[in-house]
Symmetry: C2
Subunit: 421 residues, 2 copies
């Protein structure tokens, strides 16, 4: 290592967050004349669309996560640091991570979102949300433990409460969780208990909206609701949550006694973004320009769930991985353009459609030229998720686990780990 | 459910612990005229011989664990309860688990062992041992985090301490851990860092004994030591540990600075067994009769690592799974004999040999008629461990993960989870 500064130091790009957006920027800058540093508080990139399968004991954490530094190992101009970013010194162009400070010429903030409890953070203890591997393992623990406790419960009222599962929020995550919990109870665990019949489990999906999957076409919402009902999920729409405690959920229609409540409603942008200059929406997202950087700080790019980015219809783009990935590619291109004084490209989102799975052979898909549901949509969902999963090995593993589960109805990772109560 | 007692109630067998011993008893009693209850504080049976591969990021927890109730689901006379057994009421013939009490006619205690710190429980915080999935994930976290911290360390002395790994105890677990850590540093992570060379990692294997794998033939100990050295493991024998703190390990030869210390020395029987009547050895094991029950309580059987059982040479049998499994089959037979007033069988251990792996293509095996090491021993080790792994699915998964790792030298589960410091 030389102690003298090199004569023409390469511009330094610091990327905070190794989710879909951050990784897309890094990959696009691999081999370019920039020095890239990727910071993440985890050592792994997480394929969040399959996180619900870890929470419902179908997949293991390692099946959907990959070390960030192995993903980027082949790009010699990229370094990866595991660090918890605590703030920025924008005047000195520094990213602050505890005692460390990392200088940047260009900054990319792609730190995602956490669940938001609509101003009721006290609900989190009783209704965990699903964003990280730790969240998923905690939800898996609660789900499986509820059946174990029901098996030994002597009071029938308590047994019923233990076998009642409430999912708040009927977006894709809520729908996927509800379907998966119902399947594991009705199929996987069917012969495993002596004192309870796991099919007695009640899975209740609550939403204040008038239909499930509200971002989908109304016909597909209807199909999804039918498919949920065919799995014995109770769908209760137009019901807002007024409170959550260890006994269950209170709603205007009355109190639902349930020992397990899962939160799948409401996101808020990562609070780190508040340290940047700009205007914010109700979900804490910062408004970005059409070129994905901040109007007041053009060398700072914000992507994905952290950014408020308006689509062609002037409505905010949804918090899904294709948005973040396409933004990442565009941001990388614009950083290189800025370096060379070229004009920046405007971001245009190419929406290839959306899909959500409800269970085995059950899904809905909208690819613009066609809307379909059932077996075909499910197969399309399986295919798309395998293609986009990071690393060939994970694709093979998950494929084999799914094939196995399809034929045996077994669950791949029925483990209760962590505290035992 | 009838409220009247049935005219000829079946004898109740309660098995505490669903390890190799407890499961062997349960399986042998499946379909017999007894009512069996299996209690375990975990929901899963764990294949402990491969636990070190979870600790070294090769396998996922779910690859080596299986829900106890799915293993035993087909036996209608067996129920499984997840419960933490707290004691016994031997007069009333009850197993106590918190507020619950489970009546028994025959009791089997097979609760295994925990690591023992030779009267220094304060060492545990700095040198975790390896018995449960939680232990393994914690050790994995410490190992991987040490490399991450070394990558960002600016002080070369601190970097060296972060890259020094001490394993205390050169039995099979210690040898396997040392080899695996050295391999992951020298092969798997080779290209992943920019500021450190993972090959600089120092792996030090300490033992107070004069050779590694002391239960093996001396020639194999020598071969194992050579194989460890070929993986750059520093083997320090005849060195006793005098203290362990967050800075490292003190020995009569001086202080070894190391940020990661792993404990693979010394076991103590599960403390639950102290509530039973009998005599105990230094490791807390209870002395059992030749028929595997307690001399003072013939309806109570104790198996596996919890029991002191003398072999033909009057030496205690080792704490390995074949002993526990064979004892389990014998105990089940003797319980059925007791019920019918038949004479009990004496336990005879059929020792089929032992093997330990050091790394890829490196192992030692002793099958009495032959002692061998290297590639052939390694292949035998792989084969035997796949055969005995519970569940066909896990066998296939682990086989594929191993084949993949063999050719790519990748690690299957390089995840840092849990707390991040």
């Amino acid at each position: 290592m030389s102690t003298e500064p090199s004569p023409n130091p390469k511009p330094r790009v610091v990327i905070v967050g190794a989710g879909f957006g951050g990784l897309a920027v890094a990959k696009a800058l691999g081999g370019e004349p920039v020095q890239v540093t990727v910071l993440d508080r985890e050592n792994h990139h997480l394929f969040q669309p399959l996180l619900y399968q870890v929470a419902t004991a179908g997949l293991s954490p390692a099946n959907i996560a990959q070390p960030v530094r192995s993903i980027l190992r082949k790009h010699e101009n990229i370094e990866v640091l595991m660090a918890d970013v605590t703030g920025f010194d924008l005047e000195k162009k520094l990213v602050l991570a505890g005692e460390r400070s990392i200088p940047f010429d260009y900054l990319v903030v792609a730190t995602g979102a956490r669940h938001s409890y609509f101003g009721h953070p006290e609900w989190e203890a009783f209704a965990p949300g699903l964003k990280t591997l730790e969240d998923a393992v905690e939800i898996r623990r609660r789900l499986l433990l509820a059946f174990e406790k029901a098996e030994v419960a002597t009071d029938p009222v308590e047994r019923e409460r233990l076998l009642t599962f409430v999912i708040v929020g009927a977006g894709p995550t809520g729908v996927e969780m509800a379907g998966a919990i119902s399947e594991i109870a009705r199929e996987t665990m069917l012969q495993d208990f002596r004192h309870i019949d796991p099919r007695e489990a009640q899975v209740i999906l609550l939403d204040a909206a008038a239909r499930v999957l509200p971002v989908f076409d109304e016909s597909l919402s209807k199909r999804a609701e039918e498919q949920l009902k065919s799995l014995n999920v109770t769908v209760r729409l137009g019901v807002s949550v007024q409170g959550i405690n260890e006994e269950g959920v209170s709603t205007p229609d009355g109190f639902i006694h349930a020992r397990t409540v899962i939160w799948a409603a409401g996101n808020a942008a990562s609070p780190l973004v508040k340290a940047l200059p700009g205007t914010f929406d109700r979900a804490g997202r910062i408004q970005i320009s059409e070129t994905l950087n901040l109007p007041e700080a053009p060398n700072i790019y914000v992507l994905g769930d952290t950014a408020l980015c308006l689509g062609k219809d002037n409505k905010p783009l949804p918090g899904v991985s294709p948005v973040a990935m396409q933004q990442g590619a565009c941001a990388a291109k614009n950083i290189l353009a800025q370096m060379e004084g070229r004009p920046l490209s405007k971001f245009a989102y190419w929406d290839r459609g959306s899909m959500a799975t409800i269970g085995r052979n059950r899904a809905v898909a909208d690819v613009h030229f066609a809307k379909f549901s059932g077996w075909l949509a499910w197969l399309a969902w399986v295919f798309v998720h395998l293609i986009f999963l990071m690393s060939f090995r994970n694709r093979i593993s998950v494929f084999l686990i799914w094939v196995w589960a399809y034929f045996t109805r077994a669950a791949g990772a029925r483990l209760i780990t962590g505290k035992k109560t």
